[in-house]
């Protein structure tokens, strides 16, 4: 009986090998040969599945996005069923507060460094950021209509400020400048300033 090759499994192993390299040493100078060695397969097989190194990297950014989206969805599902609960859940999901999200942040960082010199990657990051920004803007608008966030806020501007804040808090977490609890408390303090007097106590009652 011929051996049955699980192509999906092999492709996943190769992407996860690249993932491991990105999170431990970055992506600078990474080669298909290095990825193949890390995955325990031949360089020819990596080329067969993914083509060029740039195509493999692009595939890996898709994998990164999928994982981040899954983490956001899981946080939102566990959060209070309100626009303000969703808003906070998305923001907390973007912080590297555990091993998985920390690895994802390191991988994202490695891609960010490459993106500074790569217009295709830059465009992809901009697209991902736009999606999150739009989701935050919508959640802020909905929370205003619920009476949870102040009516005088400009949702798009607040979304930009919140995105910058979680990005900076994420970097501080990776460097060990804050504990995860302290970073979430800082985020909650900022959110508390956006809330109405009778609105949600972010980080207190949810």
């Amino acid at each position: 009986m011929p051996k049955v090759v699980d192509h999906d499994q092999r492709r996943r192993e190769i992407v996860e090998a690249l993932w491991h390299i990105a999170s431990t040493r970055g992506l600078e100078g990474v080669s298909l040969g290095e990825v193949a060695t890390a995955a325990g397969v031949s360089k020819g097989l990596v080329q067969h599945y993914f083509g060029t190194r740039d195509q493999l990297l692009m595939h890996a950014t898709g994998y990164l996005r999928e994982r981040v989206e899954q983490r956001i969805a899981a946080r939102v599902a566990a959060a209070p069923d309100s626009a303000s609960g969703t808003l906070r859940a998305v923001l907390v999901a973007l912080l590297p507060t555990d091993d998985d999200s920390r690895t994802e942040s390191l991988v994202a960082n490695a891609f960010l460094v490459r993106a500074h010199n790569d217009p295709v990657l830059t465009a992809r990051f901009r697209e991902g950021t736009s999606q999150v920004r739009n989701a935050l803007t919508a959640a802020i608008g909905a929370a205003q209509r619920d009476g949870d966030l102040r009516a005088d806020l400009d949702p798009a501007r607040e979304a930009d400020l919140l995105l910058a804040l979680v990005s900076g808090l994420g970097e501080a977490l990776l460097l060990g400048h804050h504990t995860p609890d302290a970073a979430v408390a800082l985020l909650d303090h900022h959110l508390g300033r956006l809330a109405t007097a009778g609105g949600p106590g972010f980080g207190h009652d949810g």
Copy 2:
């Protein structure tokens, strides 16, 4: 007459060669030989002046700090002579809003990526961050005593939030998600929320 060698000049050229490499392709896998080639000198000369690669990198972080400190000092000198003016000047100086500060941010980014796997570099970054954080905390406290910032703020907490905000805005600037003017306007909007009713109009009257 023997040729007079300007050692300081040569050392500076070597550090600037490393600087150029860091800002264009990052520091991953950088070797003394590569730095020597970029500086147009021999590898032996780089070793003579700096010793090991790690010693050269450490020297370059000192150069980075000097340049950032000079930029902060210049911004503070040009700002309104008040604690709130100083606070805003330090924060704006930390944003990559022109070619020089953009290069510095890219170099800092390259060191940050290394720092994730290097305890000595991590400690150095933490020390640098602590200094800025202390300066911001002091400026916030002084601006509160001047009646420019709200008395109910916790200066250390606001300093952490501001540091995270400029860090995240800086990353967004490097990726072209915001123009420099838009990033400064977002910072000013945040600062405006910390001001007293009769306090400074950040970004308006200074």
